[in-house]
């Protein structure tokens, strides 16, 4: 066993052993371990396989920057994919599985793929699988690609809480400088939040010796105590994963494994970024071998978990920070040889088990190689917020430059790698005083990937991108870093290039012989580490996402055994009665055609337009001329958008000179109201028009059928109901039980209909009175499904079902206003653009199937026959008509009006049937029933 647990030290609780499995074998760790530290403590080094070549991989580092050790983890029967072993805290009973490896990470049957590496270069898929068709190969490749395996179980209770909060100062990062800055800020009286993504704050402090004369743990405890006693909050295991517009910070607070993280949407007054820095890899031959690790990472494993990653260690470092690290490892019991990689060509020797390192031809025995290629400040959040980066030649790193408003970087994140200097600086920032000016003692020799050098040298460990792939990308002219990233997939793995980006762009700079800052970085985008989508979704599901609108008459419908279904956001009776719905719906249709049905039409729009300019406004809003409508009359029409597309249809009732009621479709009311409100304020004088949506304040009960008048007559409405006194397409106002009512003679069924509208408070009485009156002649309630069939029989459309985003009013047979209306109206000019004048526009038609054939499928394509099939249109509505005793359908069809009588072919899911085009009205085309 190469790595092992030393007998002292670390932040783990050695009195609490935890049992877990990895790839089926059982191991023991301690409370406070991560999966990675526990496995290393058990001598397990190979924790996964790489994405493309299936090379064995061990952890590169100890926290979020590790790209290698990714696992599927199961606990209490729940399995989660893509868990980073270095950030997953160990819990008793965990079962971890390596990914991209079968049967285990140690022995993987696809390991042989590595032998093919010569042919598996960047862009290999695109180049190889072009002929005859990529789609032939795609299923197999997709099966081979990918890392974790997602559980098919749905965790209904995996729902994130979401909290909104604010503070004066947010400190991101609980390392030395974060703690120092937060403490100062608290002491000046500010409301401070400090967040840190680990369970134990302190950052990298535990791997250093004494801090200001105190042991790291004591120093950290003193700072935390001072912050908390001053009213500051310290949030542990909380990741600041993104800074969004206007300084909104997203925090993910993690609980036990398998619990959804809690989202904090935090608005701080100012942000102190103390996110630290990462030790970057050194690019040399075979640098992806298990046992090649980050020097800082190795020290972190030792300091936090008491794990020594190797017995015979060779360090490769180009900077002054490495010396003390080497000494720490030596004191813990390792043999350490320090090598200078800037001296020449290095190569790791060994396979699954490292044997040593060769430097300039000289072999050095080692079971572990620790690399430190210099510190890279973690500037992700700085860039999210829009901060600029400057290239620092001394540090060979991008450091925070011009700051975004209200943000300041301290410590290693700012390129300050001397602890005392960084602490003094952070305190000044926390207290908002002048920052001290000191010179850094940190020294490093530039060391970057050398193109053209021997061996396979990894740049992106997770996605298997080597320096040769970068060279290839450059040869093929993918020289921009953004192109390089996408062509080679460098930095596109789940670690998002935390380790690989700097090496990648430095390699590109070297290939192009340009300075690194000229090549630049790729864009840093949230989230800093992967977050479950449930975090963003929170409770917004089902009715909490889209609240149901409820009918005033719902209790009556429930009592009448209605099947309540959602239609356009409203919970409405689909039909009445339990059991087979088809029979109920057919009976309800027949009831309307033969006697009368009573229908709750309350969701129907009731948008009032009032004011001295109301007439001109409604005339402007509608395609049809409304200005000529007389009080007491009703007109059907379309609302268009400015592109001439039918947005909704409905009837307008004129109640007086300055008062109109628009009855738009039930599902479109909110949209129409918004549309009218915008036009009212934007192109008209809002002082002279008022848009008043009364839809949810008034209920509407429709009595429809040949005997509708008989039902209404038994109720005292003070309205003369005779056909000559109250003809079709007129509106009357009356009373019911002393309450004002509005009755409109408009029909959605083709039968004599009265739409009775009343204030919600009186709706129940009205409904019951009409039902009682109807019952005496055999009439009863009908639901929405029957209405859908009734309207289709009559050829009445539903906008959005029988029309689409291209339908103009003249496609629906309403041609006159387009040619004759003088006044301006919304969308007018668009109807005469080239697209509106095309002769092959899709028009509304009826479709009849041959006798005895089944009904057409809604959505089925109407296709042109011939050698090149082409869609001419599609079926929009299709029903078995109880009235006509045969199937009926509506559709949109190219040149539909000219095709009446033609036989056409309808295609659906590989099957074709023939149908005949007919006018879109199947019932009472003369309108005898309507005018009754």
């Amino acid at each position: 066993m190469t790595s092992y647990r030393i007998d002292h030290g670390g932040l783990i609780d050695r009195t609490r052993p935890l049992v877990f499995t990895f790839d089926g074998r059982s191991y023991t760790g301690f409370d406070g371990d991560t999966l990675a530290s526990a496995l290393l403590a058990n001598g397990v080094r190979i924790m996964g396989r790489s994405f493309k070549y299936h090379r064995p991989r061990g952890p590169w580092s100890a926290w979020v920057d590790d790209p290698n050790a990714i696992m599927n983890v199961k606990l209490n029967g729940r399995e989660f994919p893509n868990c980073a072993a270095t950030t997953t805290y160990l819990e008793d009973g965990m079962a971890a599985r390596s990914v991209n490896a079968f049967p285990s990470a140690q022995f993987d049957v696809k390991g042989g793929l590595d032998l093919m590496h010569r042919w598996l270069t960047a862009g290999f898929y695109y180049k190889t699988f072009m002929w005859p068709n990529w789609h032939l190969f795609e299923p197999v490749i997709r099966k081979m690609a990918g890392l974790g395996e997602i559980s098919r179980d749905v965790f209904e209770d995996y729902v994130s809480d979401q909290v909104h909060d604010c503070c004066d100062t947010l400190v991101i990062g609980g390392g030395g400088t974060g703690l120092a800055a937060a403490r100062e800020a608290v002491e000046t009286g500010e409301n401070v939040i400090l967040v840190d993504d680990q369970k134990t704050v302190g950052g990298g402090l535990f791997r250093t010796g004494l801090i200001e004369g105190q042991a790291a743990a004591d120093w950290v405890e003193a700072q935390v105590a001072a912050i908390e006693s001053g009213g500051g909050r310290v949030m542990r295991a909380t990741t600041a994963f993104g800074i969004h517009d206007h300084k909104l910070v997203g925090l993910a607070e993690h609980g036990k494994f398998g619990c959804p993280p809690r989202l904090w949407r935090l608005r701080p007054g100012r942000i102190i970024l103390a996110s630290g820095a990462l030790d970057r890899p050194i690019t040399f031959a075979n640098n992806d071998r298990p046992g090649v690790m980050s020097l800082d990472g190795a020290c972190e494993f030792l300091a936090r978990y008491g794990v020594l990653v190797g017995r015979n260690i060779a360090t490769l470092s180009n900077n002054s920070g490495a010396e003390s690290s080497a000494r720490t490892l030596e004191q813990a019991g390792a043999n350490v040889v320090t090598l200078d990689p800037t001296a020449g060509h290095a190569c790791a020797i060994g396979g699954k088990r490292l044997r040593g390192v060769e430097l300039n031809g000289a072999f050095h025995y080692a079971d572990t190689i620790l690399c430190s290629g210099g510190q890279t400040p973690l500037v992700h959040l700085w860039r999210h917020a829009g901060g600029k980066l400057d290239w620092n030649d001394d540090l060979q790193a991008f450091v925070p430059g011009k700051a975004p408003e209200g943000m300041i970087a301290v410590g290693s994140a700012n390129g300050f790698f001397d602890l005392q200097h960084a602490l003094d600086d952070a305190r000044a920032v926390g207290a908002d005083t002048a920052r001290p000016n000191k010179k850094s003692s940190y020294k490093l020799t530039p060391l970057w990937p050398k193109p053209g050098s021997k061996g396979r040298q990894w740049i992106d460990f997770q996605h298997d991108v080597t320096i040769k792939d970068v060279e290839l990308a450059a040869r093929e002219n993918y020289v921009s870093v953004e192109h390089l990233k996408r062509y080679t997939t460098l930095g596109m793995a789940s670690d998002q290039g935390k380790t690989s980006n700097m090496s990648g762009l430095a390699a590109m700079a070297a290939v192009l012989d340009r300075p690194i800052p000229e090549v630049g970085t790729t864009t840093f985008r949230p989230p800093f580490v992967p977050q479950p989508l449930a975090l963003y979704a929170g409770q917004r599901k089902a009715t909490l996402f889209s609240p149901l609108k409820r009918l005033k008459l719902e209790p009556e419908h429930r009592a009448a055994d209605a099947a309540l279904v959602e239609y356009g956001g409203w919970l409405r009776p689909g039909w009445f009665g339990s059991g087979d719905p088809t029979e109920h719906i057919f009976n309800e249709v027949q009831l309307v055609r033969e006697t009368a049905g009573i229908f709750d039409a309350s969701p129907l729009g009731k948008i009032e337009i009032l004011g001295p300019d109301a007439e001109a406004f409604v005339n402007f809003a509608f395609y049809n001329t409304i200005a000529t409508l007389k009080p007491g009359h009703v007109r059907y029409g379309f609302l268009l958008n400015e592109r001439g597309i039918v947005m909704d249809d409905g009837v307008v009732a004129r109640l007086g000179d300055n008062r109109f009621v628009i009855s738009c479709s039930s599902g479109h009311v909110d949209h129409v109201r918004d549309h009218l409100e915008v036009w009212r304020q934007d192109c008209n004088d809002p002082e002279r028009i008022f848009v008043h949506d009364t839809t949810q304040h008034w209920s509407t009960v429709t009595v429809t059928g040949p005997r509708a008048r008989d039902i209404l007559e038994k109720i005292d409405t003070r309205i003369e109901l005779a056909a000559d006194a109250f003809p079709h397409m007129t509106v009357r106002e009356g009373t019911f039980d002393g309450a004002p009512i509005r009755v409109a003679r408009v029909s959605f069924t083709g039968e004599l209909s009265f739409e009775v509208s009343i204030r919600n408070t009186y709706a129940t009485a009205l409904w019951n009175a009409l039902l009682k009156s109807g019952a005496s002649i055999g009439a009863g309630p009908v639901g929405s499904e029957a209405m859908m069939i009734l309207r289709a029989e009559k050829g009445y459309i539903i906008v959005g079902k029988d029309t689409d985003g291209l339908t103009m009013p003249h496609d629906l047979g309403f041609t006159v206003p387009r040619l004759k209306k003088k006044a301006a109206f919304i969308g007018d000019r668009s109807l005469h653009m080239q697209v509106g004048n095309e002769t092959d526009r899709r028009a509304l038609v009826g479709l009849e199937v041959d006798t005895g054939s089944a009904m057409l499928s809604t959505g089925a394509h109407i296709v042109a026959d011939g050698s090149k099939p082409r869609t001419l249109g599609y079926v929009t509505s299709s029903y078995d008509s109880p009235t006509l005793k045969r199937p009926i359908a509506l559709g949109l069809l190219e040149q539909g009006a000219e095709r009446i009588g033609e036989k056409i072919t309808v295609w659906h899911l590989g099957k074709t049937v023939t149908a005949t085009v007919c006018p879109p009205c199947f019932y009472d085309p003369e309108g005898v029933h309507l005018d009754a």
Binding site: D245, H246, E677, Q681, D682, C683, A824
Partner: protein
């Protein structure tokens, strides 16, 4: 997530707002002759300026349209003015 300022309701979360159009665009008088190009420009041509922009937005809860000046690059909100009264 941006904070926009409704002239009536004050600073609110951006999700409460709806973009209507760029300010300064005038609907052509369609009772007169409007060329295809003229209408197409009105429908489709946006200035899409990088930097300071003036736009018409509506605040959905109070449903008032107003003019907001903001910076499309830095996302800074500069000011909001009611369109009631003399509109500039």
């Amino acid at each position: 997530m941006q904070i926009f300022i409704c002239p009536f309701c004050g600073p609110r979360d951006e999700r409460e707002f709806h973009f209507e159009r760029e300010a300064g665009k005038i609907r052509p008088d369609t009772t007169k002759l409007v060329s295809d190009i003229g209408w197409s420009d009105y429908l489709n041509e946006q200035r899409n300026t990088k930097g300071a922009v003036r736009e018409v937005w509506s605040h959905l809860p109070c449903h008032e349209l107003f003019v907001m000046e903001r910076n499309s690059l830095t996302m800074d909100v500069i000011y909001s003015t009611s369109r009631r009264g003399p509109v500039t």
